[in-house]
Every structure is written in structure tokens, then in C-alpha cells.
Amino acid sequence: MTMNAIETARSRPGQTLLPATLPWAAVIAVLFILPLAFPGTAMVSTLNYLGTMAIFALSYNVLLGQTGLLSLGHATFFGLGGFIATHALLGMAEAGWAFPLPLLPLIGGLGAFVLGIFGGWLASGKGGMPFAMITLGLSELVYAAAAIFPSIYGSEEGVSMDRMELGSSFGMDYGSATDIYVIVAVWFVICAAGLKYFTTTPLGLLANAVRDNAERVEFLGFSARRVRMWTYAIAAGVAGIAGSLAAINFEIITVIELGAATSTLVLLMTYIGGTRVFFGPVLGAVVIGLMKVWLSDLTPAWMLYFGLLFIFVVMVAPGGLAGILVGAGAMIRAGRLGPQLPLLAAIGGLGLLSLAGVIMLIELGYRAGLDAALGSQIRILGLPMDAHGLNSWGLAALLALGGALSIRPLLSRLETLQHRLGLKGGDPA
């Protein structure tokens, strides 16, 4: 039995042990527990940010994972959604309307959806490279237009708002981060459930078909362009909801939110998390989001780690973190993990050593270069090291290279073992 067969066997109705609603109950339970487990405004703000990015990444995966489209400008709709929501709030507050704040993302999302139909109509004539290039061009256009229209995008510092201006509703005044958490959590459940539902509909299935073989879709009577256009619009709308939530959370929206850096961020989050498992992008958003929040305090090199992690996933585990987890889960259930454990543990140990070496090299590099002004003495992973000392560099290089080189024979042994267990290659059973 191949991995593929294991995967598809999981989705067989009536044969799964867990009812379909159980994961959702778990999601809701986790959302309830999180703010209790991590109290405090700073922590809850971080949770709000993660929730926002998780929605954003889920929306991106409608394109990347479900329809096989590489968009280089998805942040356009995140940012535009945020601007639309912000201007809507400012306008309604000025007019004195009583509009409940939690519904504001609906406006941002609808606005982004409408713009997404237009953008999708332009971008979706072809998939692949032309699609990537048009989305790049469109997003650069919108970004460049920001400098021309300061009355919409604000000047350099963006457009700010006071989320309490719309007044109280649903028993909350929205002053505290916890109130915002409730909004983000509810919208997360709505968006995730909606997108999950979307995968089960005819259009959702056709999106997969376009990903696998766009030409054949045409010969079944469908227009691949229309499928792309609608998935693009749906992804845009959900990204607009995420952008609105970000605006509400930070009470400010800037052009950075719709720029290339944000588009890159969501691509990396989604891919690292895993595009072929529904909650993969959520995992990616949480891991990368936490790296961004916590690692940026610990080290100046966090962006570099982030990029290296991405390359690692692209080269070694294209299924992403979720792909690794699902694969491991399937192996455990098939009872095939046991024989591999000693080898896997050895590889993991050596990998950690190698990783420690890489971290040392990078940290030493930063201390020798960018942060030379802080002095050459530095503690890395608990060890005192010297950015000008040959010993420190030598140790780091030894760990990094030695670890990597000694892994290679183990990897080929693992492959042989997996062949013998019938996990990889060969003909399907």
C-alpha cells in the first residue's frame, strides 16, 4: 500500500473511526482554552495576530493547494480588505450609525470579494507562470497606486481608527484584546468551516481538477478560467476578512499590509504548513507567526531562519509540516513506525546537532557582521562564543558539516528500510 493509498483511505466515508464533527469540536475547544492558558494583553494580542494570519493562510491555500495557482499578490486583498473595513468604520462612526464591530469584516470581505472577481477575471486566463506574473503585476500596481492616492491609503503612516467608536454590541465594548479575540475566534471558525465546506462542493472539486489537469476540465464542458476566477474571488474575500480583522486588532492599516512582503509571508506560511492538508496552512501560520513574534526578540537572524526553513521544506518535505504529521500518523496506524524508530531517532539527533551548528554559524555571522557593534562575545544555545575566535567558528562548522555528512548514509538506509516495508516506490498493491 502506498502513502497515497493510505491518504485516500482516510477520506473513505463510513470507514473513519471519528465522526466528521469531532475535529471541529476540538478546534472550538482549543479556541476556548487558548486565552485561558495564555492570559495577559500581550499574549492575547499575539493570539489575535495568529488567528488573523491563520485565516489569511487558509484563504491562500484555496489558490495554492486546492487550485494549484501560485499567486504572488495575495496580500493585495488582505490589505484592501483592511482599508475598506477601516474606511467603513470611520465613515459609519462619523455618520453616527450603530453598526456592530464584529460584523465589520463582512464589509471588508465583501469588498475584497468584488475586487477579487475583477482581479480574477484579469488573471485567470491561464494558470501557471502567466497567472503568477499577472498577480505580481496587479499587486505591484495596487501598491504603487498607494503613493498616488494618500486620501485612501493614508500617507506613510497608514490610516488609523478607534475600534470603540462604533460603540458596544453583543455585550462587549471592544476595548480589551480579549473582546477582539472573541471576534477573531468566531470568524476563524466561520471561515475555516466555510472553506472546508467549499472543498466538498462541485466548484471545490473542479478547483482540484483544474489543479491536476486544466485542459481536461475544458473537455468535460467546463471553463477552467471560470473555475480559477471564482476560486480567486473566494480566496480574495476571505483574505479581506483576515485583513479587516488585522485592522481591527491593530487599529491601523498601512500599505505594507498589501505589499510584496506580506504576499511572501502568506506564501511561506501556507507552504511550510502544508498545502495538501486542510489545516496545514493554520499550522504554518501559527509556527511562522510565533517565530515572527518570539524569535525576533531572541535573534536578529529570525528572517534568515524563516527562509532556510522554507527552503528545507521545499527540498525535503514538499508536503509541509502537516504532510509530515499526517505521514507519521498513517505509519503509526499501519504499525510501520516501530521498525524505523531507531534510524529516525539517529537521524533526528544528528539533524539537531547539525541544526545547532547552523544556528551557531548564523549567530556568529550576525555578530561578526551586522551586529559587530555589540562586541564579539555572545552566548549561543547556552555556550559562550566569540565571533572573532577560530574555536567558535570551528566548532560551529564541525557540527553543521559533520552532522549533515553523517546523516547521508543513514538516509539511504532509511530509504532501503522503507522500500522493504513497502512505504515508498514500487507498484501499488
Binding site: 462542493t201 489537469n213 468535460l220
Partner: protein, 254 residues
Amino acid sequence: MSANAIEIRDLRKSFGPVDIIRGVNLELRAGERHALIGPNGAGKSTLFHLISGRLRPTSGKILLHGQEIQGKPPARIVHAGLSRSFQITNIFPEMTVLENLRCAVLWKLGHRYSVLRPLGRLRDVEAECTRLLEELRLTHRRTSRADSLSYPEQRALELGLAVASGADTLLLDEPMAGMSHSETAAALELIMAVTEGRSLLMVEHDMGVIFEMADRISVLVYGEVIATGTPEEIRANPAVQEAYLGTPNAEEAA
């Protein structure tokens, strides 16, 4: 409605200075099984691409039930009632067999691009897919990924995608290419069963298969149809023997 499912009139296609299809005239009668034969490079696949909308003809007309379809996009031609299979297997490799078939029946059952109900609740889709799986003998593979099927199974699915769209006119491009002798026999039986009552135009190389199943045969040589007729007529046609079969006794030689 015209008695002909397909009528091709003086169809031409050139790629730059090279003429591939040079004035083809062909009729596919309603309900008949019609084989298209010809040597390699005669333009059989190009002709199929022109009829099915993958390529635009340089000039000429293609009528489907009397309605002009030349130069229309593939999807429109499917709506007009013609669907096709491909010589090189052209399925959705990362989707299951069931999902492949679901895609193929969505248009004819009127669900199109709907997001109103999940597929699992669309009873007509489920019923139709179950019937097709049964017919294609793929029921035991319904949740297998398409790329994990054996070659004959993939060919059956390829055929299934063409049949499932509900078109009454079918173009099959070498549906038995690359199969062993025993597989060919089973595939032929399957094709005869699923295309029952439809008009069928089929490219095939295996003379035994052609003479067994075809009501009529057309011979395409260098972009022109040099003869059309019953198997017996074609067998006896001296022009065909010379241009295509090479020697009068080529069938025995092959």
C-alpha cells in the same frame, strides 16, 4: 436533425507552411461505429483535435448534428454533444476515481459550478457515478487515486470521462494503445458496451479490432481521406492497399 452526427467539409489545417490536414471530407452517421485509420503522421490526431476544439482549423466546416462547431472552444463543443478521449492518458492524477467521474458528470446533471450543496448530498451525481463505476468495472477502485491505477484501469477511466459527460457523439483516440492482447479484448468489450447507442469515431491501429467492431472505415493518408466504406470495401480497395496497407496482403503480414 441531420442524419449525420458529424459532417466535415473540406477541412484544412496548416502549421506555418506545412499543410497537415488538406481538405478532409468525412461523415459520421448517427449511431454508427466508424474507424479512422491511416499511417503514422497522416493527421489522425490533428483531425481529432480540430473536431474537438483543441485546435482551430485553417478553413473548412465541421457540423455536429447540422450545427457548425469549427473553431469553438472545447467546452462549447461538449455542450453541443460531442466528447472525446485522448491517446495519451489525460485524467486527474491526484484525485480519486470517484472524484474524476464526479467532475465528468457535473455538467450534464446541471450542477455546473455550484456551491449550493456538498457533492455527498447530490444523489443524482452519486447514482450516476455508481452506475459508471459499475459499467467501467472500477467499483473496487472508487477511492483509489487515479495515478495509482494499473494501465488498463487508467484507460478505462479515460474512456469513462469521455462517456460520462453524456455526449451522444464520441471521439476515441486509440483507446487500446499500449495494451496487451488479452487486455485489448477486454477493453474492446468494454468500449462496445459503454458506447451502445451512440455515434462513435475512433482512431485505432489494430486491424483485427477494426474489422471486428467498425460499421464503416475511413482511411486518412497525408491529410486527405482517400476512401470510406465498409470493412469489406476497404479491404478490397486497391488505392488503400497501395497507399496504406503497402502490399495487397498487408493484413496477413501485420
